[in-house]
């Protein structure tokens, strides 16, 4: 018997994908250069709103090395894409609705020829009056982004009213009111959108692509190409970051179309950073107005809020983003009377879409800063105000859902209350050096898991004992850096008693793995492990039973699976798994399991559109964020000195991976709070690179301390809930509240740049003259 490692166990580092990534061996989608590969690229509109009168393609087509130049008329199927609403053309037929719209697709023998050909295309574009402010877009007579829509520029309007609604504010002894502006945020994953495609001799199109959604991509691409879904294969390697920005079509349809015109050669497309910034989706800019009322003891009574989300030219999940925002708009508190009103509006601004947090960071920013305004008005400690209102299990949440699952917010608050960073906070503030001011800020947040009541939240896991005696785990959900693929292997190894050598991983591939939905919505490990554990258990039981038969054992209970073998415990005899596999029919060597997440039986909002877009959720993670900041009075520069997040994500399977999710979410949230903005006056982006769109460097971020406050979520696999997004919901309001304490006034416009901080300082300082 060869030497084997002990079976894998949950919770042990290192992450199973780390070594191959650290050695440079792991192949991302962009790392493939198949022999004879062609390069594809698109000519983009460059204008925010313009009628396409014609395209002069002659010079590009005449350039040696150009294989094809394609336009909207070359799209064989439906020239429309989109997840909920198919409102985005693959290639523009009549008019461009934002600067990033694709007009023509070029295939060339190499990158230089491609670049030259794209420059040679002359687009005859007639500029149209655009609409760049969502409030203006709703007014009668505003230019229409989609003329055919009877609702004009309104993509989705949602309203959730409970109790007496806004009228209850009149009975509140204390009411605070504020408006907030949240910026457009770019994902800035390091691996820009890319993939490669090839049409086989059988006519099938294979696309290897950096994506979060292989199965949905297959359906969309097939529809665009006029093919059956089975004629399209999507392969999703590890993605070099995604964060929601690869939730939906980026280059897939263009690559599929290119493959149809490549004469059977492979074709590659890889957006440069500038093009990625121009064309890719962003976090929705939002304008929020809040009126929050409480009684004298600080018990929240009523909230009326209005949110306007700028969705840009296309839906691109904008309706779903708004809806999740509405569901979280009142925060993790008991509030009997709410009126939550949201509008997602088309404009000719850059495209908005899914981004980690999915509409929640915007409302959390408003609600949590309003909570501190209220605490100030009441003369209450901000932590005490949150403690008095924190949702507990069994409560009805603000949108009317009874919380039947684990609800650990109160425990998170107590962890922070007891922590030295909070307890020692006032002393630390007083030690501020001359010319500096210090402040502490809190934010309490929640985040729903999964798709909501209508869209089936399904995962299908499959495990196979190969003829070689190795367990092949078919992972159906993309790993874009969270580590869920390795967690799948650990879970399978734990159940099946295998070490790493006894396991093989198959990353998402529509020809091999089973449909399991998107890597998004804090759902990945929750839904997939809920499918994987029963599949592994079923296969294990079958193997134990068949092994017991083969070894004349009295019962399967006498058998155990060990790395590479089956052991009969009473006698100590062993059976090699390769030999066991040879005794089985291939069909017996495979087990699969379908899991569909439960949905909330209550329907607090009768609006079918809100239900379709995901309202309500039943499983929530919770967190309390604490930021300690220092402001330089001369420069307005803000430094986050300390950061703490205490989070209830149910049980924590892998503490290291859990911390990675918290720290990564907080880091992006601190970028959102302090640095990141993607201004686009008149629809024209001002950031072309990573020196004008700034994301945090190693010098911009503090050490990020994470405290797990584990509850047991009964619906979760091994008690877990989602942890992918709760880290990004809190940093902006935590920093905002800390700044308010340091400056003596609230900033209502984010990010909190030195210019804005200085302006606030100048308003609070008495003038010297």
């Amino acid at each position: 018997m060869t030497t084997r490692e002990p079976p894998l166990e949950i919770g042990r580092p290192p992450r199973l994908d780390a070594a191959a990534k650290a050695s440079g061996a792991e192949k991302f989608a962009c790392d493939h250069y198949p022999p004879g590969v062609l390069w594809a690229g698109v000519k983009r509109a460059g204008l925010p709103h313009a009628r396409l009168r014609g395209l002069d393609l002659a010079a590009a087509r005449a350039l040696p090395g150009v294989v094809a130049v394609l336009t909207a008329t070359d799209v064989p199927g439906v020239n429309r894409q989109g997840v909920v609403l198919k409102d985005q053309p693959v290639l523009v037929a009549d008019k461009a609705r934002y600067v990033g719209d694709a007009l023509a697709l070029v295939l060339a023998s190499d990158q230089e020829t491609l670049a030259r050909a794209l420059r040679l295309i002359r687009a005859d574009l007639e500029p149209l009056p655009g609409v760049f402010d969502p409030e203006e877009a709703l007014k009668p007579g505003a230019p229409l982004v989609h003329e055919e829509r009877p609702q004009g520029n309104l993509l989705l309007e949602g309203r959730v009213v409970t109790g007496q609604g806004a009228a209850a504010l009149e009975d509140c002894p204390v009411v605070v009111e504020a408006s907030y502006d949240l910026p457009r945020q770019e994902h800035a994953y390091l691996e820009t959108e890319n993939g490669w495609a090839q049409r086989g001799e059988d006519g099938r199109v294979t696309i290897v692509v950096s994506t979060q959604t292989p199965f949905r991509d297959r359906a969309e691409v097939a529809e665009v190409l006029g093919l059956e879904p089975g004629q399209v294969r999507i392969v999703a390697p590890y993605a070099g970051g995604a964060f929601g920005g690869k939730d939906g079509i980026t280059v897939q349809s263009l690559l599929g179309l290119a493959a149809l015109h490549a004469g059977g050669r492979p074709v590659k497309m890889w957006l440069e950073r500038e093009e990625s910034l121009l064309a890719s989706s962003k976090r929705h800019p939002a304008r929020l107005h809040y009126r929050l009322g409480a009684d004298q003891e600080g018990r929240l009574q009523a909230l009326a809020m209005r949110a306007v989300y700028d969705t840009g030219p296309y839906d691109h999940l904008g309706g779903a983003v708004l809806t999740l925002g509405l569901e979280h708009a009142a925060g993790p508190y008991r509030i009997a009377h709410v009126d939550l009103h949201g509008l997602a509006v088309y404009t000719n601004n850059p495209l908005s879409g899914a981004f980690r947090g999915f509409g929640v960071p915007q409302v959390a920013a408003a609600m949590e800063q309003a909570m501190d305004l209220l605490a100030g008005r009441l003369g209450l400690d901000p932590l005490e105000l949150r403690r008095r209102n924190a949702l507990r299990r069994g409560d009805i949440n603000p949108v009317g859902v009874t919380l039947t699952g684990s609800t650990g917010l109160a425990a998170c608050l107590e962890e922070v209350a007891a922590h030295r960073l909070w307890r020692g906070g006032q002393a630390w503030r007083k030690e501020a050096p001359p010319g500096r001011r210090r402040g502490l800020g809190l934010a309490a947040v929640m985040h729903g898991l999964g798709y909501g009541p209508i869209i089936p939240d399904v995962a299908n896991a499959k495990i196979e004992l190969t003829a070689e005696g190795v367990f092949r785990v078919y992972c159906g959900v993309v790993d874009m850096g969270q580590g869920n693929a390795g967690t799948c292997l650990q879970l399978a190894g734990m159940v099946l008693g295998q070490d790493l050598a006894g396991l093989e991983l198959v990353l998402p591939d529509t020809d091999r793995t089973l449909p399991s939905g998107s890597a998004s919505a804090s759902r990945t490990t929750y839904v997939f492990a809920n499918a994987l554990l029963p599949a592994a258990t079923a296969l294990k039981e079958r193997l134990l039973a068949r092994g017991a038969d083969a070894m004349f054992a009295a019962s399967p209970a006498e058998m155990v699976l060990l790395p590479g073998r089956l052991k009969h415990l009473p006698s100590g005899r062993e059976l090699d798994l390769k030999r066991l596999a040879s005794l089985l029919d291939p069909a017996e060597r495979t087990a699969s399991h379908r899991y569909r997440a439960p949905v909330v039986p209550e329907r607090p909002s009768p609006d079918p559109a809100l239900q379709l877009h995901g309202l309500p959720h039943g499983v929530f993670s919770y967190a309390v964020h604490l930021a300690r900041v220092e402001v330089d009075e001369l420069t307005g520069l803000v430094r986050v000195c300390d950061y703490l997040v205490a989070a209830d994500c149910g049980q924590v399977l892998n503490p290291q991976i859990w911390e990675q999710q918290m720290q990564g979410g907080v880091a992006q949230g601190l970028g959102y709070a302090l640095l990141e903005d993607f201004p686009a006056p008149e629809g024209l982006p001002q950031c072309r690179d990573l020196s004008t769109y700034l994301i945090p460097t190693s010098l911009d971020l503090p050490e990020i301390k994470c405290l797990a406050v584990p509850t047991w979520e009964q619906s979760g696999p091994l008690g877990l809930k989602g942890c992918g997004e709760i880290g990004i919901d809190g940093p902006l309001p935590a920093v905002g509240n800390a700044l308010a304490q340091a400056l003596g006034r609230h900033l209502v416009e984010a990010p909190f740049t030195p210019e804005r901080v200085l302006a606030a300082l100048n308003q609070t300082e008495p003038s010297a003259s």
Binding site: P13, P14, R15, D17, A18, A19, K21, A22, S23, G24, A25, E26, K27, F28, C30, D31, Y33, H187, A188, Y189, L190, E191, T192, Y238, A239, G240, G241, A242, F243, E272, R273, M480, G481, Q482, G483, Q656, I657, E659, Q660, Q663, G664, V666, A667, Q668, L670, D689, L690, S691, I695, P696, T697, S698, L699, L701, E703, I704
Partner: protein
Amino acid sequence: MVKIEFILNGRPKVVDAAPDRRVVDLLRQDLGLTGVKEACGAGECGACTILLDGLPRLSCLLLAAQLQGRQVLTIEGLASAQGPHPVQAAFAQAGAVQCGFCTPGMVLSSVALLERQARPSRQEIRQALAGNLCRCTGYHKIVDAVALAAGPGEDQA
């Protein structure tokens, strides 16, 4: 096309290349060393970092002719027959790897740091890595990994 001779990952290498071919393209496309990543093409992110005569350099800003007579180390040349380089092992162990796209450049910058300073403080590690962007980790565990690779020292704060 010109003949360019250099040492690549410890071995002599002769290539025929356009003198103005970007080194990142030469390495990735012509020589198949795709551990060298490209994420901005403009010298802003550090993903394409290589070690040139032991110093971290951005291969998207270098041209092929500049390699003549130089020592080039990419992530693929870092491990030895005995296994991964201690910095690579520390990155995996400390949880410094998430999506992994910044990792090769981050590892090479860390190796260069530890070559010139065996026991850097956490702040010194942050300064040395400020040219390598990471969007996943928040850098905390990357700093942990470099400190782990450096081994126990005076700065254990």
